[in-house]
Symmetry: C2
Subunit: 131 residues, 2 copies
Amino acid sequence: MRATSIAPFLSVRRGTLAVDFYVRAFGAKEVFRIENEKGELVARLSVDGAEFWLSDESPRHGNFSPETLKGATARMVLTVADPATVFDQALAAGATSVHPVSKQHGFLMGRLADPFGHHWEIVKPLGDDGQ
Amino acid sequence: MRATSIAPFLSVRRGTLAVDFYVRAFGAKEVFRIENEKGELVARLSVDGAEFWLSDESPRHGNFSPETLKGATARMVLTVADPATVFDQALAAGATSVHPVSKQHGFLMGRLADPFGHHWEIVKPLGDDGQ
């Protein structure tokens, strides 16, 4: 493990459903999960070793879901070997296409909104030959 | 470079100042930067190899700053070797302490708000001996 890392921590409503979605959409695996008696959870997920956290929102602690704020303040850049396949898998799991996968700015890139209001760019850097 | 990675892409106001802040606060280095004639930028930064992106917000493209939404929908978990030093360096650069660095849930952890409304947890996992 690297000494220095940055992992996003997403705030959502319906956290347990969000975990299910990320498992189906991105093939995420649960690294850690804790749930309270109200069914609110904190989870740490790994997509092929790339980790992120999520939990049910808690506005009084400054953790707001995109549904509460009507938008998101950070999007996630998920780099994968095959963006088209992951993009389609996420749509099948319930995501919405914002931009389909296409070549842009040296990347093969698509943008989607997940059912919890977070946006993901599913990308792969293109080589010098544009492939 | 790993095949799969997740890098957060932060939306901010005053992007050029935000880059300056992250350089001073976290020792970030610019990997990529492009600026338009209005001074709006897209930048990719690396904190000791851990990358994130930022750009000036663009609400019509669904990219909202915390200042616009009055809160943030994701916080950043920055794992470092020495959280107390990074935390103090960030405060000196203009961040605000939300929780000072303390032992919590198996981590040495502090939470701060940066001047652009994004929150960062500066953390280090504790060993089995609590150190």
